[in-house]
């Protein structure tokens, strides 16, 4: 066992740290029109330094960084309090699906514009009657000349208020639930699309409803085989729950801020919660290192999903308890943390997965 970084990774770390120190500045909320564009510009700046998608092949804008280097990048990124990634849904949910199930044509067409944020992607998973129970989607895609016509309603689409395109599952065949679904990409500005932003608890439209009324999608925007959408989507869901969406750097940085906050506002009765936040972040970091060395099985992503989402709530709740009701610098992160145990599959669903698929308890 060896936790040291090789020379190449250390050099990369130094480059990233220096670049971020020179370029990071605070931006407005990405859930406002102006802030969204500021974040798009920030993604372009990252791309110009080949830092927007470090682990991708060079031809799509990456630098083929190892997973370890990607982790190091994320640690530096969060430690520098760099802006949230407006391209996150595309980079961390859609792109892995395209690498696994897309065509060369799709990768060539979609990935470079994603890396430069010329196209920002929203996810369109949930529907009013399909939240935790994703397999009960009702929106349909009907065959037409040269493609498909989408009909139905999606909801809780992150970033959809201002994004360019979206990806989701549509019912194309006769089967029930997991069968007969197809993974499709569509344009949020195409004729027949109506986007209604939904204000979150903080008042900003972090997600939206999408109404689809005979929206045309060409055949080239089917990912994987038609009818095979559930399997295609599940590879993405694994990514969302697991390592990619919530890199340990996010929590080690937040825990470090909490320790700093505690030193300024020491309350011995809250000491253990502060220390446990730091320990939890460190545990998640080392757990991720172990996963790099020995990739875990699919359902193991449910373990980390429950862990990081509850850790995030604990970190922010502790900060609020230290600060009282005026919690400058922590309120937005706190509100966001409360959504963690809900999105990407509620923690109740994840615990079912852990019990049934890892521990082998009866369904």
């Amino acid at each position: 066992m060896d936790l040291s970084l090789d020379a190449e990774t250390l050099a990369f770390q130094a480059e990233v740290r220096e670049w971020l120190a020179a370029h990071v500045r605070p931006l407005s909320s990405m859930d406002t029109a102006a802030g969204f564009e500021e974040h798009r510009e920030w993604e372009r700046l990252l791309a110009s330094a080949r830092l927007s998608v470090v682990s991708w092949p060079a031809e799509f804008g990456g630098r083929e960084a190892s997973l370890l280097q990607w982790l190091v990048f994320e640690e530096e990124y969060h430690a520098a309090s760099a802006p949230g990634r407006v391209s996150q849904n595309g980079i961390f949910l859609l792109a892995p699906t395209l690498f696994a199930h897309g065509t060369d044509e799709q990768r060539d067409r979609i990935l470079p514009s994603m890396a430069r944020a010329n196209v920002v992607w929203a996810q369109a998973w949930s529907e009013p009657e399909a939240g935790s129970d994703l397999a009960s989607v009702r929106s349909t895609a009907t065959r037409c000349d040269g493609g498909w016509l989408l009909r139905g309603q999606k909801t809780w689409s992150s970033r959809a208020a201002f994004a360019d395109r979206a990806f989701g599952l549509f019912r194309t065949g006769p089967g029930e639930r997991h069968r007969g679904l197809t993974y499709l990409l569509f344009d949020l500005r195409a004729p027949g699309v109506t986007v209604r932003p939904i204000a979150q608890l903080d008042g900003e439209p972090g997600f939206a409803e999408i109404f689809l009324d005979d929206v045309f999608v060409p055949d080239e925007d089917v990912v994987g085989e038609s009818g095979d959408g559930w399997r295609v989507a599940m590879s993405t869901a694994g990514n969302e729950r697991g390592l990619t969406l919530r890199s340990p750097g996010r929590f080690t940085a937040a825990a470090a801020r909490l320790v700093e906050l505690y030193r300024k506002n020491p309350d011995p009765a809250l000491r253990d919660r502060v220390v446990d936040a730091w320990i939890g972040a460190q545990a998640y970091r080392l757990h991720t290192f172990a996963a790099l060395s020995q990739p875990p099985s699919g359902p193991a992503a449910s373990i980390t999903k429950v862990f990081w989402s509850e850790l995030d709530v604990a970190i922010h709740e502790t900060a609020l308890d230290l600060l009282g009701e005026a919690a400058p610098g922590w309120r937005d992160g706190w509100l966001f943390s409360l959504s963690g145990p809900i999105y990407a599959g509620t923690n109740e669903i994840q615990r079912n997965v852990i019990a049934e698929r890892i521990l082998g308890l009866p369904r």
Partner: protein, 267 residues
């Protein structure tokens, strides 16, 4: 020993509930500014919490009247460093009541509340019953939290009965059942502490009530959000108002940690 509400108190709760459920806000029309008995105040504030009524309520209706002032808002440094936004401000230091002027506005975790930093103004009175006033602030805040918790439990139970996933109401899943059972247990055991504190008005009992009501109400809020899922996270759904007010009141009128200190000191 008769540890239950009188028929008059039960009636008061019912009248308030009907009034607030009808969306009315002109509380003085109900004569609530004449309520001074601590148990009656708890009945009143539980209903105010039950409907998530905003504003400097503890300040206007419980604290300032005891100090012979108000309506308005009041800060009690160090445990209440800032006042909730109002038309008129006061400041209590030791046993002295002063007028105060707003000098800066401070965000609360609840966007429906704003805090105000105050500068001390002219003395209004000395030798005021500051300790009793503070304890009444803590007590009524606890009662509000109890009402908020109850409201969120009701909202969530109704949602769990009607929302269907995987072909059945989510309230049929044991995980959801146990979450909600825990919320009910927390609230049911916090409630007698709040009423008990109204009877004794000792600082020990008032602080114990605040600790238990804060924890129970916040547990209700977390569970409510988790069971509602994304819909509860939207500004247009009713839950957010309750959840955010609960988080603000949890640390208002003294943090849970400070109140636990007070309990221990008194034992």
């Amino acid at each position: 020993m008769m540890f239950t509400l009188s028929p008059e108190q039960t009636d008061l709760a019912a009248v308030l509930h009907e009034f607030l459920a009808a969306g009315r806000t002109d509380l003085t029309a109900l004569g609530v500014d004449e309520v001074t008995d601590p148990v009656d105040l708890v009945v009143l504030f539980e209903e105010l919490g039950h409907h998530a009524v905003p504003g400097p309520l503890a300040e206007s209706l419980a604290v300032l009247p005891v100090l012979g002032a108000g309506p308005g808002s009041v800060a009690f440094p160090p445990h209440v460093p800032h006042a909730v936004e109002a038309d008129r401000y006061y400041l209590v230091e030791d046993d002295t009541l002063r007028e105060a002027a707003p000098v800066a506005s401070i965000e609360s975790v609840d966007p429906a509340r704003r805090l105000v930093k105050l500068a001390a103004g002219p003395v209004v009175a000395t030798g005021v019953p500051a300790a009793r006033a503070f304890d009444l602030g803590v007590l009524t805040c606890s009662a509000q939290l109890l009402g908020l918790g109850r409201a969120m439990l009701e909202l969530t139970t109704a949602h769990a009965r009607s929302r269907t996933q995987f072909g059945r109401p989510i309230g049929g899943f044991q995980a959801v059942k146990h979450h909600l059972a825990n919320v009910l247990i927390g609230l049911e055991l916090a409630r007698p502490l709040v009423f008990g504190a109204a009877v004794t008005l000792s600082s020990r009992d008032v602080s114990a009530a605040k600790v238990a009501a804060s924890d129970a109400a916040w547990q209700a809020a977390r569970t409510a959000l988790q069971v509602h899922g994304a819909i509860g996270y939207t500004a247009e759904h009713g839950l957010g108002r309750f959840l955010l007010q609960t988080r603000a009141l949890r640390t208002a009128w003294g943090s849970p940690s400070m109140h636990r200190s007070r309990v221990l000191e008194a034992l």
